[in-house]
């Protein structure tokens, strides 16, 4: 019987195979399994800011009450929507907190499920506008578009979009089209200078008149408040939430509600289509609309409540006045979300070509 030419490879092969198997085991063990029906866990996709406060006032009380473990997945509206789109066949997220116009895009993509009012009983006790007309998840908070300004750099507090178009001497910035305030500003300008909030042509024409002299087009709330606090600018269109922290810190910053062109945006809670824990998702949506949870979020996150039994904080009433508790009665509206969702690519190009010059 002939001997093999190389007597020792077998142990080496064995060692290599063992090492490979060990590595494969380690990799496999570190992978999370794909979620099937999972009533014990709830994956909540939410905004990346103030996650500690959100955990304290929402996630932990929900866990204590239901025994369901809450896992937060944070990111931007667009980033989280992209993730949902990629995982649409086997979603691993149950519930999504997302801005209204991104929610509209998600609805158009078939990523969200309609909710039954019986599963979310607190829907009967929210401001009527917060209920989605197509039966999808409701709004749980809202932000108002207005004028943020330096109280020490303007002679009189602004009360109209015309005050911005007068080009304040100490400078101004405009929202980039990529932030929530951007598309809202197009609608507000269209309403103020054109035939109404569904007149984006008039909005872009008007914005083209002040775009070239704007110091910058801000892409985040902190960028805007930083510019205002450092006195680099005197005025900017922005959301009332942006002003809350500065006003609370006694910075010389105010928020003005314009006389016309009052547009607001809302954050909604959506149940993911095919979610591994749909019952938990619906329970979470209902939990979010409870008056005591809404008031907790108002205190911790500056989220103005939509629940009829919840009151805005004194700070919210100081900044946004009556509109903090009832935006519709004070002339605010959400605008045409389908228009924004459908025109998003065209608006990005128009903004680049006509305004951000």
């Amino acid at each position: 019987m002939s001997r093999p030419a190389h007597p020792r490879p077998r142990p080496r092969r064995l060692t290599a195979a063992l090492a490979g198997a060990l590595a494969l085991t380690a990799v496999t063990a570190s992978c999370a399994p794909v979620r099937g029906d999972d009533p014990d866990t709830l994956v909540v996709s939410t905004f990346a800011f103030a996650t500690e406060e959100f955990t304290q006032v929402v996630a932990e009380p929900f866990e204590a009450e239901t025994g369901i473990e809450v896992v937060l997945d944070t990111g931007t509206n667009a980033g989280r929507l992209t993730k949902l789109r990629i995982n649409a066949q086997t979603p691993d997220t149950d519930v999504v907190l997302i801005s209204d116009y991104y929610a509209q895009i998600g609805k158009d993509m078939g990523l969200f499920s309609p909710v039954d009012r019986e599963d979310v009983p607190n829907l009967d006790a929210v401001q009527p506008w917060a209920v989605d007309p197509d039966g999808y998840g409701p709004a749980y908070t809202f932000q108002l578009l207005g004028l943020l300004y330096r109280t020490d750099l303007v002679e009189e507090a602004p009360d109209s979009w015309d005050d911005l178009w007068a080009k304040p001497e100490d400078g101004y910035v405009l929202p980039d089209i990529s932030v929530s305030a951007g598309p809202m500003f197009v609608l507000a300008a269209g309403e103020h200078f054109g035939s109404g909030p569904s007149d984006p042509d008039a909005g872009f024409d008007a914005m083209a008149g002040i775009g070239p002299d704007a110091l910058q087009f801000y892409t985040g709330s902190t960028e805007l408040t930083s510019l205002l606090e450092r006195g680099e600018i005197a005025m900017a269109p922005g959301l009332d939430n942006f002003a809350m922290g500065s006003v609370e810190a006694d910075q010389p910053i105010g928020f003005a509600v314009p006389d016309q062109g009052r547009v607001m945006t809302a954050n909604t809670v959506q149940v993911v289509d095919g979610a591994p824990n749909p019952a938990g998702a619906l329970a979470f949506a209902d939990f979010l609309l409870r008056p005591e949870i809404q008031e907790g979020m108002a205190e911790a996150l500056y989220d103005k409540p939509v629940a009829l039994g919840a009151d805005p904080t004194p700070l919210m009433e100081q900044v946004s006045r009556d509109a903090a508790s009832d935006p519709i009665a004070n002339g605010y509206h959400q605008g045409d979300l389908e228009l924004i969702a459908d025109e998003r690519s065209a608006w990005l190009d128009r903004f680049t070509e006509e305004v951000a010059r």
């Binding site: 992209t82 951007g182 910058q216 087009f217 680099e232 990005l348 903004f351 680049t352 010059r357």
Partner: protein, 291 residues
């Protein structure tokens, strides 16, 4: 049975070792290559060619329209201009620093090198916000200008601001790369050139710089690639008015959710970096044959 002598045993072991197959060195490349393939190549190719709601044909169409769009061509031109300027300024400032560090006596090279790369330890956002404070209308430069009677200057949100921010960001990379070549040079070669009558300039041009060329080219490639793909600094210091390809890509993904168009932009950025890398290789070969 008598045991074999130590010498015979050693010879037997050595003989067996010679008989054993030695694992080819290329086997050592397997783990790294596997990681590259599965964690880099596969996702990058997938993202570039098969984005959500797109296929290679859509991406090709978007790339074509990107390269012919009169509003987007200036963005490509600005990206190349900013990246080239950043690379040139990093080289102009980084090379002398690296040269001085490499010629410093005793333990000084280590200390100076640590000082030069210290900015790398700071977060990009922190470094960039520093520039916002300096370059703004109420910033240091503006206040000095105002005190000198020249009026307020607004450097923030300009192409100059982006270049300044990127130079600060990537200068340590250039210093490190060029230092690695300069520190391996035999300093006596420069002394010999001077001793043979070469002026300081000529000794630098004909001896020091050609020998440092590999490090210089690596540094230039790294800085150029970093400048083309940098996002935070152009976004904070340039903003939407001074859009570069990276910030445009972000808008396509975050505003219009137009993934095929974002893939087309990423493809153009990748090609720019590959062209720079190829150019660097070519220059390296020319340098090595002429020196």
């Amino acid at each position: 049975m008598p045991s074999p002598s130590p010498t015979a045993e050693a010879a037997r072991v050595a003989s067996r070792r010679r008989l054993l197959p030695r694992p080819p060195v290329t086997v050592l490349l397997v783990p790294g290559l596997a990681v590259m393939l599965f964690a880099f190549c596969y996702p990058v190719v997938t993202t570039l060619a098969w984005p959500p709601d797109g296929d290679p044909a859509t991406v090709a169409r978007e790339t074509g329209s990107l390269l012919t769009d009169p509003y987007l061509l200036p963005v490509i031109a600005r990206t190349v201009r900013v990246s080239v300027l950043t690379t040139a300024l990093c080289l102009a400032m980084g090379f002398p620093v690296a040269y001085l560090i490499s010629r410093a006596p005793g333990a000084w090279p280590g200390r100076l090198l640590a000082l030069a790369i210290f900015p790398l330890l700071l977060n990009t956002v922190v470094r960039t916000y520093g520039w916002i404070v300096v370059l703004g209308g109420n910033g240091l430069i503006s206040k000095v200008s105002e005190a000198l009677g020249l009026g307020r200057v607004q450097l923030l949100y300009t192409e100059t601001a982006i270049v300044l921010g990127l130079v600060q960001l990537f200068l340590p990379l250039m210093i490190l790369s060029t230092y690695s070549s300069l520190s391996q040079q035999d300093h006596r070669l420069e002394d010999a050139a001077r001793g043979l009558g070469a002026s300081p300039g000529r000794a630098f041009r004909d001896v020091v710089f050609p020998l440092a060329l590999p490090g210089v080219l690596v540094g230039c490639t790294l800085v150029f690639a970093g400048a083309v793909t940098a996002f935070t600094t152009p976004q904070l210091l340039g903003g939407p008015r001074e859009r570069l390809l990276s910030t445009l890509l972000y808008s396509r993904v975050n505003v219009s959710l137009d993934w095929p168009s974002a893939s087309a932009i990423a493809l153009v950025m990748t090609v720019l970096v590959l062209v720079a890398s190829a150019l660097s290789n070519r220059l390296g070969k020319i340098g090595s044959t002429t020196s």
